[in-house]
Chain length 83, copies 2
């Protein structure tokens, strides 16, 4: 399945790593309905930045999971090869 | 050790995933001199984008490895927590 890195550039003001963890848990609950697997993420809460590594049939499917789970759709998404 | 995600926004024109792999291998050869450990990376060659996950004592040490190994210093670097 294709691999993507999505990038969130500006979390809502005051968002914490714990809040991101909660949002990620919501992704995991519903991702199966979209054929998507969020693998890992990395967050810099003060900068409002999150990177999500995700296997998905296409970029739109990955976005659809974020949209349905918590509404925080990534600002950018890139098809990537892992080194 | 602190964890960082660095982001390269515009690889040199025509850079391939294989060229990035070669550059990454150069990082690995010298990173010990800087107390740095590049853990993984993800590349979207057509977009000229690379994300590097790296353990380093500080951001400057991570940049110093890239600078000494191949000169392609990241455009952005974020201290991150892994989810």
């Amino acid at each position: 399945m294709p691999l993507y890195m999505d990038v969130h550039n500006s979390l809502p003001d005051g968002a914490t790593a714990a809040a991101v963890a909660t949002a990620h848990a919501e992704d995991l609950k519903i991702q199966g309905e979209h054929g998507v697997r969020y693998l890992n993420y990395w967050v810099d809460a003060p900068a409002g930045k999150v990177f999500c590594l995700v296997e998905a049939p296409n970029a739109e499917a990955a976005h659809a999971v974020h949209r349905a789970a918590h509404g925080l759709v990534a600002d950018e998404i890139y098809p990537v090869e892992q080194g």
